[in-house]
Amino acid sequence: MSNKVLVMAESREGKIRHVTFEALSAAQQLSGGGEVAAALLGNHSEDHVRELGKYGASKVYVLDQPELSVYTADAYTQALCQLLEHEQANVVLMGHTAIGRDVAPRIAGRMGMGLISDCVNVAVEAGEILFTRLIYSGKAFQKKTFKHGRIFATLRPNNFPVAEKPVDAQTVRFEPVIKDLRTVVRETVRKAVGGVDLSEAKIIVSGGRGVKSADGFKLLQELADVLCGAVGASRGACDAGYCDYSLQIGQTGKVVTPDLYIACGISGAIQHLAGMSNSKVIVAVNKDPDAPIFQVADYGIVGDLFEVIPLLTQEFKKYLAANE
């Protein structure tokens, strides 16, 4: 069975986000030879179109009205719903990013569509498309499918293999009618530290109460910088004021699935484990050999993080320099 698939591309700071390539790769898998198209909203360049073609988008809808240059739910919903009416794709994919999670339920509501959000895997079994997602913040998984209507899913960044399939992408201009915008974005204040977003980081260095202070987190940031990773934290560390709540990982924070998770001075409460235990590889550094974090760790060092982390930073620096 072939499907017509539409992927909403997303860019940040002038670059197409990696999750868009993941979504296009999933789209190739689901298309069964059908057409894969992408939608590019806001400012774009010819390079963007070519890049989308590299991952199998044979058609790129370009929507570059001024109302779409800054994301708002209203403008994006109007634009994408009109495109969906026009394009008649029966599978729609986008990243489960700040934009995806904000706009996808709105579009699904307007179009009367189902939506399976925050998927970590997709497979076709017996002709049926099954999406896997985390529930209870990673304490369990579920597989969901569609009973009626179009297939619409948001994909969690960093969970889908990327496959190139170069095609010549054809640019198609699409001009939706955008009106009656009800929200105005006044300003965006950059606060994200280190430039690597937690939800997309391949490596996360995370700290708990054992880090003891905001200064202690600087040690973690140094290690994260060397590894091009991001810094995260347990609820305990956030509650103690060592870092911002936006860094919190766990059942009431972010649920992350990086390639490598380095837990420093985190005991491993069940709420924290829920948010990180599906990471591919987990390293725990803790003074307490009985800390529950060691039960989910692939590698553990029992020791004082204030000694271990600087050593680890030095060792990685040396190693990465030697393997440049």
Partner: protein, 255 residues
Amino acid sequence: MNILVLIKQTFDTEEKIVIQNGKISEDGVEFIINPYDEYAIEEAIRIKEEQGANVTVLTVGPARAENALRTALAMGADQAIQIETEDEELDEYSIAKLIAAAVKDKAFDLILGGYMAIDSGSGQVAVRAAEELGIPHVSAVTKLSWKGSKATVERDVEGDVEIVEVNLPFLATTQQGLNEPRYPSLPGLMKAKKKPLERVAVADLGLAQEELEAKTEIREQFLPAKKQGGKILSGELAQQVSELVQLLRHEAKVV
């Protein structure tokens, strides 16, 4: 101001998940108000205390979910609506239809709800409800301030802060950092027992069969594979650290 707060009763965050016959077991489970919804309740009560408001809490769920509504009433909400259903096949599409049908004639100025529920984690229902009701939404809100009927809202965008202006009526989903939810007081708990709680049956909402029918369905639920015992390193600290780097490089292949 007339405020509606959408809440969900969820498993306590301490609970381990047990699957029996393909279903998540509720045996012996403690239930709480979804933590993100607590921020929504708290914010509504603060608005009520600061500028006067009437606060309604609403949930869709089985009989046990009444406890979550009573807790919200004890925190300071004025009345509650429970759309009572044991139907486990409802999905976000159909639940949003139920909520919209129950409140469409009640003219709420502000609707608040958690940014997501910690059980299903899908983060759809509140935004879908805003769409059904034809009002704008602002999601992942960490600060709300007012000038008459205009709100200035700060929202969390992947760690950055976006400042948005929007007029009433609108729906906001609440993110951690917005406030520190209060515990219900003892007098609050006593009063909550007498506050009005309206029970609504799904059949009374006048929805067509196709609006009640879920678009998606769950095929399988399962626990993550158990981890093999990890490797605890030993020896001199410097040696452990260099061994770790080698292991991450050559065995785990993640750096």
